[in-house]
Every structure is written in C-alpha cells, then in structure tokens.
Symmetry: C2
Amino acid sequence: MIRLHDNLSSGNGYKARLLLAQLGVPFERVEYDIDRAETRTPEFLRMNPNGRVPVLELEDGRFLPESNAILFYLAEGTPFLPDYRFGRAQVLRWTFFEQYSHEPNIASPRYWITHNLPMTEERRVTLEPKRRLGYAALGVMEGHLKDRKFFVENRYSIADIALYAYTHVADEGGFDLGRFPSINAWLKRVAAQPGHVPITWG
Amino acid sequence: MIRLHDNLSSGNGYKARLLLAQLGVPFERVEYDIDRAETRTPEFLRMNPNGRVPVLELEDGRFLPESNAILFYLAEGTPFLPDYRFGRAQVLRWTFFEQYSHEPNIASPRYWITHNLPMTEERRVTLEPKRRLGYAALGVMEGHLKDRKFFVENRYSIADIALYAYTHVADEGGFDLGRFPSINAWLKRVAAQPGHVPITWG
C-alpha cells in the first residue's frame, strides 16, 4: 500500500491527502511531529534529505518528496491533469506560483500562530512584508478567477488543489479573505468537488 | 518565432535561455529593467499578473510564466526530460526544491549585492537565516551528488539546468562553494554539456 509521511496540520500534506482521497487510492498515513523535529532524524532524512513532509512512499519502497511533485505524479493519466502539453505547463505554472509567491507568505504566518512559535526578530521583521506579498498573491488569484471557474481551462485540476490547501485556511494566519469575492466563490466550488475531504481528514 | 521576456542578470531567465540554446530553438529576447519596475507595467502584467520574468511567449501569442514551468514545457518529448512517470516526478521534485529551498536563499542575497540595493532592516535581519538555509540547500545537493553524475537517473536533465542557474553564481551572493566538492564536479559536468552557453549569453 502507498504510504504518506505527513503532518496533519500541513497544507502541503493535505494536497496529497485530498488528491489520494479523490482518486480513491487507499494509503497509510504516518504522522510526524514537526515541532519535535521528527522530520530531521537520520531515518527521515534518508527518505527526504531536505527534512520536510510530505513524502510519498511507493509500494516498491521508492520515495518522492515535494507536495506539488507528488500531485503531478499521482495525477498523470487522470482527469486531475490536462492530457495536452500547454495545459500541463499551465498547471505547473500555478503550482510553482504557489510554492514561490503564495505558500512562503501565507502558510508561514499561519504556522507561527497555530503552533504558538515565539515572535523572534526575524518573524517580527518579515511578518509585514509577508503580509504584503501574501495579499499580492491573493490579488493575482482574484484577478485570474474573475472570469474563470478553475485555474486551468475551467476544469478542476491539481492546480486548484495546490492553491486551495493554504488559501482556505489563510484566515488562520491573519489574512482577511473578505475582500476577494472570486476567491471565495472558487473555494466553494473546490469544496463541492466529488470526494472532497477537509484538511483534518487523514 | 518564440519570444522570451527576460532580464539578462536573472538566473531564472538563464534557465530558459540555456535550454532553448541546447534545443537549438531560435528565439527573440526582450529585455526588461527590473530595477526600474519594467515588469510591473500594465503591459507586462497582462502577460504575467505576478510581474516577474521570465515569460515565454509562444508563436500563437499565448504566455507562460514561471521558469521551471517553461523548462518543463520546452523539454517535454526531448532528452532533457525523462520519458517515464517516476523520472518526470523526480525532475519536478528537484525543481520545486530549487524554487522553495534554494532560490529564495541563494539568489536573493546575490540580487541585493549585484544590484546595489540598500540594506534595509528586512534584508539585514533575513540575511543570516538565508545564509543558513542556503548552505543547508547546498548540503542537500552535495549529499545527493556524492555518488551521482546528475540529479535524476545519472542523466543531464532540466533538473540540472534549474539548479545550475543560481548555484554556479552563488559566490556573487557571498556563498563559499569551496566546501562542496561534489557540487563543483557537477558544475563542471553541466558546463561541459553540448550547446552550453554562459548566463551572459542572450
């Protein structure tokens, strides 16, 4: 059986859980306590030397880190990934946008707050820039969704899963989603997809 | 003809230039002055609402932002991308690693230094964490390359191009590559590939 090395509060882990659920692929979940550095043990670093969840473990024992690489791997050949070249490239474009411009600014404050981390000088100084860049990323999403139902070709895909993961809990990091009507309508459409599960499911 | 909206000092732009050169695809390059916010004009934002180079403009006028999505798009069906599912996933795994754990820590200090940007409080406070995380990313690469010639399946691919772009100029951001012998041997192997061009080419 496929195994997912994971942390239940992680939006990156949720991406894999949500897609596995919607694909109907049974999997075993192994939980790691990030706050206790359980992803930095020698055993974990053998699976992912970068020390981060999620890691997908295939039935033959091979390991695949990086949430959006896991999404792409699982989605190939399914309706969750376009079957033509430019469609795949657009999906990747939005998943790279997610990891570079969205996740570091929107997920980090949520992590600091929900895990009760101390407000170090670094966190204090970077919170305001992260807030600004996070709202800018949400603005890019809002503009794109104004006349679209989903991110790529008006069809639900792993681009939506990748961006849904941390957007739908952005308020936990202090972001006000009230000013983004198109994002809110899209969040509802994603949550209404067949087989949808919440971030707490696993 | 394909058009690349670009900035010559950008490692992300260099990824596309290098692959286009090695594929023998002719293209026209359009240069934007990042320091003068030429990627934030209404005209540019119509191509990429995220306001960043590079953007690939196809012959039919469609636009594709995000350097690693551009690499994947151009490499599909060529020897620069594995033709089997787990190989593609591994390539994506390393390109997501590059954008999340490598580029923000290694490219940003280089940008601040080479563009003579003022040392704001944010830059002062984040420089040391970025240094630490950048060295950690280089450590992950060093460990992976200890017994491998290239990042995926011992074959040169866009994973190598993505990681080469900012690693080979990491010294310009104050990183000492002297302590990473496997990375240095890999940099030489990448630079010896047929059709290789330097970051200044375009």
